[in-house]
């Protein structure tokens, strides 16, 4: 039996409802068959959420399931299962954990897996992957999964955005990138139509896309309330409250969740309630997926008077008006513009500051707006996508902005073998001291 560790206690009531959300998403994949719905293995931020919702396809998110396994410290059995068939331990552990689970489920005949965390995921009817946005596992993982689920069809679409080049104006390239992304979304619709036997209801899709836009806006409005002193919510909670945006985009439940969170944060601000009492240091979680098995570390920061009013991780949206999206009547083209503009949103700023990078501009923007005194990154060994380039971001930040204290934590998202609590806490202690003297210097 895996050691179950008490997870991090959340500060907001709304965040406390997240486990129910996650369980609900998992349960939906198990119930789908009875309801005559199709289940698709899906991967976050691929831009296909609305298509699935409009076609009543139930998404099964491996990233969420693996995160649950990790948080319950019950992933090792699946990681080992995958390893037994020669998947390297250095590969994305969301993928290997889920593939290990798939292998176990197939051995049990494809039905429910008795000791799977929170019931596990239902066997998919299709797999919807995506290339480039964001990582190699987004299309290699589906292929690798098909090795065990041979009858399950795989679709891999593309949603590319122009790479940053300080010498090039990316706006000139946007058009052909968006055209391509739109065509790929259309291919995704065709694939879903083929495998559900249903036609896309384009009006319904348009409504769902509009709901997503409103959800993006509300999410940002809600998160911007965290600028308050003391901040009413920090990254420890945000690692929970990201769930509806990330896994339930295009649903009314997601929208309602942020409405509830918005109201709660306003109330907290009115009451002067913060995450740490007293709030001494404000930090930004500048990059990196968290160690799901060690979310308690956020509380460790809080116990030192340090809070994270803002994070880059899982803030996977922006206010729609800030993206200045060109008008279109095609909901797929709108989705494409929304994502392409989101990913390139900090490019113009970066070009204006010699030597800067879009990711660094984003961090600077948040440091200034949320009044942060230190920067924390987490480098997870099994994911190159978010974690390669962190050293460069940190160095660039110091060079183009200022000598702000920076901590780069090292670990993994799922694989606990890389984690040492005592070491991590020692590093946090030393960092807090650095932040303290920085603050004194700055004052």
């Amino acid at each position: 039996m895996a050691e179950e560790k008490k997870g991090r206690a959340v500060a907001t009531k709304t965040a406390a409802s997240i486990p129910k959300f996650v369980r609900g998403n998992l349960a939906a994949t198990l119930k789908a068959k009875e309801e005559g719905k199709k289940v698709a293995y899906a991967y976050i931020a691929d831009g296909q959420d609305e298509i699935m919702r409009a076609m009543d396809i139930v998404p099964a998110w491996g990233e969420s399931f693996a995160g649950v396994c990790a948080a319950k410290r019950d992933a090792e059995k699946y990681l080992q299962k995958a390893e037994s068939d020669n998947f390297s331990r250095s590969l994305c552990t969301y993928a290997t954990c889920t593939i290990g689970f798939d292998m176990v489920r197939e051995e049990l005949g494809g039905g429910a897996v008795p000791d799977a965390p929170w019931g596990g995921m239902g066997r998919p009817d299709m797999i919807l992957g995506s290339a480039q946005l964001l990582c190699d596992p987004r299309f290699k993982w589906p292929q690798a999964t098909q090795h065990y689920l041979r009858d399950v069809p795989v679709f891999v679409g593309s949603m590319y955005y122009p790479p940053f080049d300080p010498k090039m104006d990316h706006h000139e390239q946007e058009k052909f990138y968006v055209k391509y992304a739109t065509e790929e979304l259309r291919e995704c619709v065709k694939f879903c139509e083929k495998h559900t036997g249903k036609k896309m209801d384009w009006d319904r899709l348009a409504q769902i896309v509009e709901l997503s836009d409103r959800t993006w806006d509300l999410f940002i409005d809600t998160y911007e309330l965290r600028k308050a002193f003391p901040t009413p919510m920090d990254t420890g909670d945000a690692m929970n409250t990201m769930v509806p945006l990330t896994f339930n985009l295009g649903t009314q439940e997601a929208y309602d969740f942020y409405k509830q969170l918005y109201d709660e944060l306003q109330q907290k601000i009115a009451n002067g309630e913060g995450v740490a009492d007293p709030e001494k240091y404000r930090l930004i979680w500048a990059a990196g997926l968290p160690s799901w098995f060690a979310l308690g570390d956020f509380q460790y920061f809080n116990s030192k008077g340090a809070v994270f009013p803002v994070e880059v991780t899982y803030r996977g949206c922006e206010k729609i008006e800030r993206l200045e999206l060109p008008k279109t009547n095609d909901p797929l083209e709108h989705i494409a513009w929304r994502w392409v503009r989101y990913w390139t949103h900090w490019y113009d700023k970066a070009r204006k500051r010699p030597g800067s990078l879009p990711k660094v501009e984003r961090i600077i923007e948040y440091i200034e707006e949320y009044k942060c005194d230190g920067v924390v990154f987490h480098s997870a060994f099994s994911c190159r996508s978010w974690h390669a380039g962190i050293i460069h971001q940190a160095e660039t930040l110091k060079k183009v902005y200022r000598e702000i204290p920076i901590l780069i934590l090292e670990g993994d998202i799922v694989d606990i073998s890389s984690y040492n609590e005592a070491d991590t806490h020692n590093r946090i202690d030393a960092f807090i001291e650095a932040v303290d003297s920085y603050k004194k210097r700055m004052n």
Binding site: Y177, L357, S379, R384
Partner: protein, 386 residues
């Protein structure tokens, strides 16, 4: 240096391998522009058409990474880290620019690092798509146009369709010649060893295409003239992987008592097996070659048919190599932290094994420090096959 001027074939390849970049340095001194690139995904034809010398960057398995880690995370594939380490140490100080094709996360996610720390006069990240359907071909053509535009701006020379066609013809010839050399591995025992072969492959990738063609022709002549040895009794091995660019693992395989007769690696057959169609508009033909014909795990293939169909589409070439080169066993040599290849290991392994050919999977860290351990495993594999 008369002796060097007379140097030909394998001796020349040996020198170009050992002193990698020596010819590029000379060309640079003659006023040529040298553009470094990484991966079989780089359309070298475009560089040749631009009048610059394409020079493939290589790592160094014998050298510890001592400077690169200060800039690039250790979770990046060790090959990429090694090349970067060499570059930041100034080993490629003769290059004028660099093209980084979007093969994998290890390249994509470090492109800012290459650009900002090497600070070369020319740098381009070629954002090639992984998907290979029709919209992807159109997209790739747009990317190629952009790539061409940046080169034109850099060199001040227009790249015409005619330039592209000529470059395509030369590189097709280069591929044809190299395949001719591979032919000489089909006999038993092969006329050229795996160690010799990798040296030729590496030497060739550091030369302008005309010189590469000449070198390969010389090697073919030299090797063909060899007396055909008596029938070989050793096992015939194929190596599969990505960026294997040193003799060390080849040497370990042959030192363990096998013939290395074929490869499916990035500097080897992946570069040379598929030509660019000459009866199509050049950009269309280049896009098709690099997205659809090139067999790398980051070019996504799905037939829409059965899983078996997909496997045939992805790995069918490996089975063909096995038949054509009479391969007895395959070694899958994959680097740690390489997601594209890492996720294929079970599929490739079972696909090849189902053709009756045993597979040894080795996970490596791109360092000779692991070679002794690898050799022991290879010996055990060969014993098992005996």
């Amino acid at each position: 240096m008369a002796e060097l001027r007379d140097e030909k074939g394998l001796a020349k390849a040996e020198r170009y391998y050992t002193d990698y970049g020596v010819r590029a340095r000379e060309l640079k001194a003659e006023g040529k522009k040298i553009i470094g690139y990484i991966s079989a995904l780089c359309p070298v034809e475009v560089l040749t058409a631009a009048g610059v010398v394409p020079f493939r960057l290589k790592g160094n398995v014998n050298e510890a990474i001592t400077k690169g880690d200060a800039y690039m995370e250790t979770i990046v594939c060790p090959f990429v880290r090694s090349v970067f380490d060499s570059a930041i140490k100034g080993k490629f100080n003769f290059i004028d620019g660099m093209v980084l094709p979007h093969q994998c996360d290890s390249l994509d996610r470090t492109s800012d690092v290459w650009r900002d720390y090497l600070n070369l006069p020319y740098f381009h990240f070629l954002n090639a798509p992984h998907v290979t359907d029709d919209p992807s071909i159109e997209f790739m053509k747009e990317l190629l146009k952009l790539f061409i535009k940046t080169l034109e701006e850099y060199t001040g020379k227009k790249i015409t369709d005619e330039d592209l066609k000529q470059a395509i013809a030369k590189h097709n010839e280069n591929r044809r010649l190299m395949r001719g050399l591979y032919e000489l591995r089909k006999v038993n025992p092969p006329l050229i060893s795996g160690v010799e072969m990798i040296k030729v492959l590496i030497a060739a990738m550091g030369l302008p295409v005309d010189e590469s063609n000449k070198l390969i022709t010389e090697v073919i002549d030299e090797v063909k003239a060899r007396a055909i040895p008596s029938n070989g009794l050793k096992k015939r091995i194929m190596i599969i992987g990505d960026q294997i660019d040193s003799v060390d693992i080849m040497d370990a395989i042959e030192g363990a008592g096998a013939y290395l007769v074929m490869d499916d690696i990035s500097v080897g057959s992946k570069m040379y097996w598929q030509d660019i169609d000459t009866d199509k508009e050049p950009l269309q033909a280049i896009a098709e070659r690099y997205l659809r014909k090139l067999k790398i795990p980051t070019n996504f293939v799905d037939t829409g048919g059965t899983y078996e169909d997909n496997l045939n589409a992805r790995f069918g070439h490996m089975r063909r190599y096995i038949e054509e080169f009479k391969v007895d066993g395959a070694i899958l040599f994959i680097y740690k932290y390489c997601d594209p290849y890492g996720f294929e290991v079970p599929a490739i392994k079972s696909y090849i094994e189902s053709a009756g050919v045993p597979v040894l999977y080795l996970e490596d860290e791109y360092s000779t420090s692991t070679i002794a351990r690898m050799k022991t495993r290879i010996e055990a594999f060969l014993e098992m096959m005996a």
